[in-house]
């Protein structure tokens, strides 16, 4: 518990500053209070870098690192292991691509809806290219003429002409497209999706890996990966190994009562092995998918995220962002394993990890990405919540060094809380962390048999953590009056099956969760003006008295429970906490058990007796308008 003690130390050092501010307020009077508080807040909050992704320059001399909380990209000199360049980019940068000639960097800015174009030599930002909503993963084509950008909020892929900077087209992705990888032969672009298909709540999730024909820039195939969620990075094995892909995932048993965590096997973590179809084309493609788990029977490795092959393909490195570990897979052993065990059995076999993982290397907090140097003489791990890189000796596979990227040395309470949020060690056998089911502080898009031991009883959909600070009470039945209750003993007893967080840790964790902001609203015009349809929808919202339970003043939640007739057959109670409606468009599925796949279904299917507002007299046009207004909240 190194982090916890650091947090207390940080508080201790900050206390005199807080006292000084307090005295200043008394001396200057109430008129200065606001500014003084703002100044205090700024001085008390260390400015972290939060590196999240990295890419090598083509010559391997530089490592470019994207820092999401610093809105910057860094250039690390691989020889000196020092940061030598820094460029400010847009808001919440998440990933980058390097042009094939190495002269240009492209950084995706998730909250600015842009890609920053940066001169790699001078590190000057040349311009920003407009993308879809929430740009995240990106890659150029082989000639550096086309840029593919995954839009995590828009659920599509922007195809940009880099000569003109214009968007040529958008291709439909699934949900929360995440990482984009150009195939080694340049013929395909692969796109992973964090969230799975919106299917019936009674079914296990099916995720999707999208394949784009890089010549036609059309969707060639959608590879279904059953039973898993949160497809992350993508790595392609060298040609001699068959050119298969490795795609890390989380495999939830969300239909089983989660209270069975102490039996193990509820949330497992692994990697999909995808053999893309050789023939391109819409119809004749039949890619093969096998899933293997990287956990051990009594120790889990949550948050499988970054992945990279050594140049010869002999080893693959996978980061476990919530276990502060890098697993090193011997691909020869992996091939043997695939030959010796039927593919249908592998997704549930917890003995694979010990067969194929030859090293488990400890990293710093929250390793989200790993890259291997082009010459194969080292691997670099991005420690997101440590503002550092871990350098791994290859092929010796030991941690050789830690590169400090220059973030603050002190660990604030918020930072400590964020680390706890991303740490699976508080769960029985390390099966999951808070973030495992709340990727990007949001939702995993599936419904869980969360607390009751009976199969199928009181199943509830995951709720977002974005912007929830002032939305108490919590939990779908509203039984938790505050986040301390929600995240404290309850989590320990029902979810983690461990001692959980101590009081100081809980305070830090809650502080962090309360600090999670809402993302910008993409459906509301910058000047706040509503469209005609949104205005009509607003009128309906108030005519139908929706604001009775969803008042605007309190994030569109009355902060209490009502029975709106949506209880399922095996639910204990029909009284359900009124959810806040902020950024409601980001949160499907809807209703407490995730039965409604869209906002429309709330009223077209799940309000047969008009208990959830008198809506049966609404026309289809009115419902569409209402939905358009709800998206602006």
């Amino acid at each position: 518990m190194n982090g916890a003690s650091t947090a207390h130390t940080a508080r201790g050092t900050l206390f005199p500053s807080a006292l000084a501010v307090f005295l200043l307020v008394i001396v200057l009077g109430p008129a200065w209070t606001g500014d003084a508080q703002a100044a205090s807040s700024a001085s008390l909050t260390p400015h972290y870098l939060t590196p999240i992704a990295a890419k090598f320059s083509p010559d391997g001399a530089r490592l470019y690192v994207v820092c999401e909380d610093d809105d910057s990209v860094l250039a690390v000199d691989v020889r000196t292991q020092k940061v030598e360049k820094r460029a400010k980019v847009g808001h919440k940068p998440k990933d980058l691509a390097v042009s094939p000639d190495g002269r240009t960097l492209y950084v995706s800015n998730e909250w600015s809806d842009t890609v920053s174009v940066i001169d790699a030599a001078t590190f000057e930002v040349r311009k920003a290219l407009a993308t879809g909503w929430g740009p995240r993963g990106l890659t150029t084509d082989r000639l550096g003429k086309i840029l593919y950008v995954a839009n995590s909020i828009g659920n599509d892929v922007s195809v940009l002409d880099l000569a003109t900077g214009q968007e040529l087209k958008r291709l439909t992705a699934l949900r929360s497209p995440h990482y984009v990888q150009l195939s080694r032969d340049g013929r395909r672009v692969y796109v992973s999706n964090i969230l799975a298909h919106l299917e019936s709540a009674d079914e296990s999730p099916v995720s999707e890996l999208m394949v784009i024909d890089a010549q036609k820039q059309t969707v060639a195939e959608r590879i279904l990966i059953p039973g898993v969620l949160e497809l992350r990075h993508i790595a392609e094995a060298p040609g001699p190994l068959g050119g298969y892909l490795l795609v890390p995932f989380m495999r939830p048993k969300n239909l089983n009562p989660l209270i069975q965590v102490d039996n193990g096997w509820i949330l497992t973590h692994g990697v999909a092995i995808v053999h893309p179809a050789r023939a391109s084309g819409v119809v004749s493609s039949h890619s093969e998918v096998t899933e293997v788990l990287l956990d051990d029977i009594d120790r889990y490795y949550a948050g499988a995220d970054g992945v990279a092959f050594t140049p010869d393909g002999r080893y693959a490195l996978i980061t476990h962002a919530e276990a502060a570990t890098v697993s090193v897979i011997d691909t020869k052993l992996l091939a043997q394993r695939l030959r010796s065990v039927p593919a249908a059995d592998l997704p549930n076999r917890l003995d694979t990890g010990r067969q194929i993982v030859v090293h488990r290397l400890p990293t710093q907090s929250n390793p989200t990405d790993v890259v291997v140097a082009p010459d194969g003489r080292g691997a670099y791990v991005v420690n997101r919540l440590d503002d550092s890189l871990s350098v791994i000796e290859v092929p010796g596979f030991h941690i050789r060094a830690r590169i400090d990227l220059g973030g603050p040395k002190e660990i604030s309470a918020l930072r400590q809380g964020e680390r706890l949020f991303h740490d699976a060690k508080f769960c029985f056998q390390g099966q999951f962390a808070c973030v495992t089911c709340h990727p990007d502080n949001h939702i995993d898009g599936v419904a869980w048999n969360l607390e009751t031991p009976q199969l199928g009883r009181d199943r509830v959909a995951n709720r977002t953590l974005r912007g929830i600070a002032d939305t108490a009470p919590f939990k779908w039945n509203g039984h938790n009056p505050d986040l301390e209750t929600q995240c404290g003993p309850r989590i320990a007893k029902f979810l983690f099956h461990s001692e959980g967080f101590n009081a100081a840790q809980l305070a830090d964790l809650v502080a962090f969760i309360k600090s999670i902001p809402l993302s910008p609203n993409r459906h509301l015009a910058a000047d706040g003006q509503l469209t005609a349809a949104q205005e009509r929808g607003r009128d309906i919202f108030y005519q139908k008295a929706c604001d009775t339970c969803h008042p605007a003043a309190t994030h569109y939640t009355a902060k209490t429970s009502f029975d709106v007739g949506t209880a399922a057959k095996y639910d204990t109670s029909g009284m359900l906490d009124v959810p806040q409606l902020d950024r409601i468009y980001e949160k499907p599925p809807y209703l407490h058990n995730g039965e409604a796949r869209s906002l429309e279904e709330i009223w077209t299917i799940y309000n047969p007796t008009d208990k959830h507002g008198v809506t049966s007299d609404m026309s289809k046009e009115q419902l569409n308008d209402l939905v358009e207004f709800l998206k602006t909240l």
Partner: protein, 376 residues
């Protein structure tokens, strides 16, 4: 060597003779060779509602699934078991930019992308009604003709707009077909004529039968020939739309109307299910065969099978009303024609008894010409 030269000379002469009538602007090139795809060779149903061409691929919407034809054979039939929302596929639109197919069905709208169906119905989305007759792509917008009005889906924002008798000049909400023009979108409305949507300005303009007489045309070329409009197409070359009605065919260039009845032209029937058009060519899909109009020369050609002989019959009606008939060994699968599509110089025709492929005779030699036409 000498024989090869002779063969080449002979081929070029054949080609010259073939195009000679066209050059003389009297008789258009005729489709004398047909191959048919029916339930006997892989089609899942006799009735084919729609057909669309994507390069070498041909997609057909039938009463029992979506069919892909490649290399002159049915290569795949998609059914509800594959994710299709309904067995009845009334329309197929290809988004040339993304490669995705958009399907109108009797179970809603469907996007076929990368081998997977993503479906939109009236319970889960803003779609007005699940009975969908037509679909068309306008940049990032998908236009949908339903029995409860016209829908427009913004694929980037997810916004659904509905245009019906409540907010558009429609007598009836029953929309049958949609065509995207250069700056406008045209909708065929059953009983409501043609609706024109100005994309930039966002307003609707109706075209209805000016004489108001259901069965009579009082003045030729006065306006839309009839308000029961079954489908519509747009000619990007001539900037005209062509409306098919159950009482004749109308073309409009923004200033003048051009109306055709079977009684005063070579049109096979006034009962027309659809039109397709490009260049000087206008094709009318009727209940009595497939009619072709060369708009420039006013020459008509009608294709239909002869029920008595089992052979094909081509009826050529010149501008001076002179009629010439040609018998062919092969023909359309059926004389009830629902729609058609172009594939280079070839045509594909949806009929009540299968899908017919009209093969242009100089198919091999006219490769560059074919590519030029395909690119339109």
């Amino acid at each position: 060597m000498r024989s090869a030269q002779q063969a080449r000379w002979l081929l070029s002469m054949v080609g010259f003779l073939w195009f000679l009538p066209v050059a003389c602007a009297q008789t258009p090139a005729l489709y004398t060779k047909w191959e048919n795809f029916t339930t006997a060779n892989g089609m899942p149903d006799a009735k084919v509602f729609s057909v669309a061409v994507d390069g070498a691929r041909v997609w057909a919407g039938t009463e029992n699934g979506l069919v892909l034809i490649e290399n002159s054979k049915v290569s795949k039939v998609y059914t509800t078991a594959d994710g299709l929302p309904n067995r009845v596929v009334t329309g197929v639109a290809i988004d040339k930019k993304t490669g995705d197919l958009w399907l109108s069905t009797f179970g809603g709208l469907s996007q076929f992308s990368g081998g997977e169906f993503h479906n939109y119905d009236s319970l889960t989305t803003g779609l007005a009604n699940n009975i969908v007759y037509g679909v068309a792509i306008q940049d990032e917008f998908v236009w949908v003709a339903t029995t409860a009005g016209i829908n427009r889906l913004n694929t980037r924002t997810g916004e659904w707009a509905i245009f019906s008798e409540k907010n558009a000049p429609m007598h009836e909400p029953w929309a049958y077909g949609i065509a995207v023009g250069d700056k406008k979108v045209y909708v065929a409305v059953w009983g409501g004529g043609v609706l024109e949507y100005d994309i930039a300005e966002g307003y609707w303009k109706p075209y209805t039968d000016p004489d108001g007489e259901m069965e009579i045309v009082l003045f030729k070329n006065q306006g839309l020939i009839h308000v029961i409009v079954s489908n519509i197409s747009y000619n990007h070359d001539t900037k005209m739309f062509w409306a098919s009605t159950y009482f004749g065919m109308s073309g409009y260039d923004g200033h003048n109307w051009y109306n055709y009845l079977s009684t005063d032209s070579g049109l096979a029937s006034d009962f027309i299910n659809a039109t397709q058009t490009r260049g000087d060519d206008v094709w009318a899909c009727t209940d009595k065969g497939l009619s072709y109009l060369n708009f420039k020369t006013n020459t008509w050609v009608t294709y239909r099978p002869n029920k008595d002989t089992g052979k094909g019959e081509i009826v050529i009606t010149a501008a001076d009303k002179k009629v010439t008939k040609v018998e062919t060994a092969t023909s359309l699968a059926h004389n009830y024609v629902l729609n058609m599509a172009f594939q280079g110089e070839d045509i594909w025709v949806a009929t009540a008894a299968g899908l017919s492929h009209g093969i242009h005779e100089s198919h091999k030699e006219g490769k560059s010409n074919e590519q030029a036409r395909s690119s339109r």
